[in-house]
């Protein structure tokens, strides 16, 4: 495969579709593996993407996940049509959650999603307003030497 070529693509995410939840992230993981991206970067990108994907599935009717990979970086943008976030600073705190009980019983909604995305990306940006949905942009820089 030609590793210098830029690749990009998108996945449509359907809210409430728990059967396929995670499929977009695992497909992106495969795409990165085929391209020969180093495992440590793939792992970070996969975890960040998976959390973003789960947020769309759990909290919103639908969303779009876009990826853009070149020699320099992996860029992931997840845009949703959900209710938006009231207080982003609060939402970024580890353990803070507004998730209802049924979400917690599914093993999610313990307030680690956004912190996890931030932890695994080099650049993390979130834009959201109540009633206007949420857009998360994440960049993971490649070729920065060894990453744990």
């Amino acid at each position: 495969m030609d590793h210098t070529r830029k690749i990009d693509g998108r996945f449509n995410l359907v809210g409430g579709d728990f059967t396929n939840a995670g499929e977009a992230s695992t497909q992106l993981k495969k795409i990165l593996q085929l391209r020969g991206v180093k495992d440590s970067y793939i792992r970070r990108a996969s975890i960040a993407t998976f959390e973003a994907e789960m947020n769309v599935i759990i909290y919103t009717p639908a969303g779009i996940l876009r990826y853009d990979v070149d020699d320099e970086s992996i860029k992931i943008t997840v845009e949703d049509m959900g209710p938006g976030i009231e207080d982003i600073d609060l939402a970024m705190q580890e353990g803070y959650s507004t998730a209802p009980e049924w979400v917690r019983e599914m093993g999610w909604g313990a307030g680690m999603g956004l912190p996890n995305m931030k932890k695994n990306s080099d650049v993390f940006r979130i834009d959201s307003a109540p009633g206007e949905g949420t857009t998360v942009k994440m960049i993971i820089y490649l070729n920065k030497g060894e990453q744990s």
Binding site: G95, S97, E101, R104, E105, G107, A110
Partner: protein, 111 residues
Amino acid sequence: MTIGDIINQLSPDSFSIEPDRDIEIKDVYVSDLLSDVMANAGEGSLWITLQTHINIVAVASMKNMPAVILVNGRKPEGETVQKAASEGIALFGTDMHAFELAGRLYNMLHG
């Protein structure tokens, strides 16, 4: 193993009431799913969890649990602390992961 033994050996943070150190702990339940705790935890056991919201107090109370230990450095929400105090349930916290805390308590119980 008493609550006092746990305090002495693991030095957890304490968020709620000062518990009765003589209370005997015969079993421990590790779970982050409230329905699981409701259905399966033994009466009077000690509960290890990551959940911090107020509903944990109601579950602990219904199961007659004397104490709950929050792991991974989680801090309880304000209303959780108040409710725990009013229900007489001790709330502890530790930076340990559930696996390690369970391992240490297991050794204290059976070691």
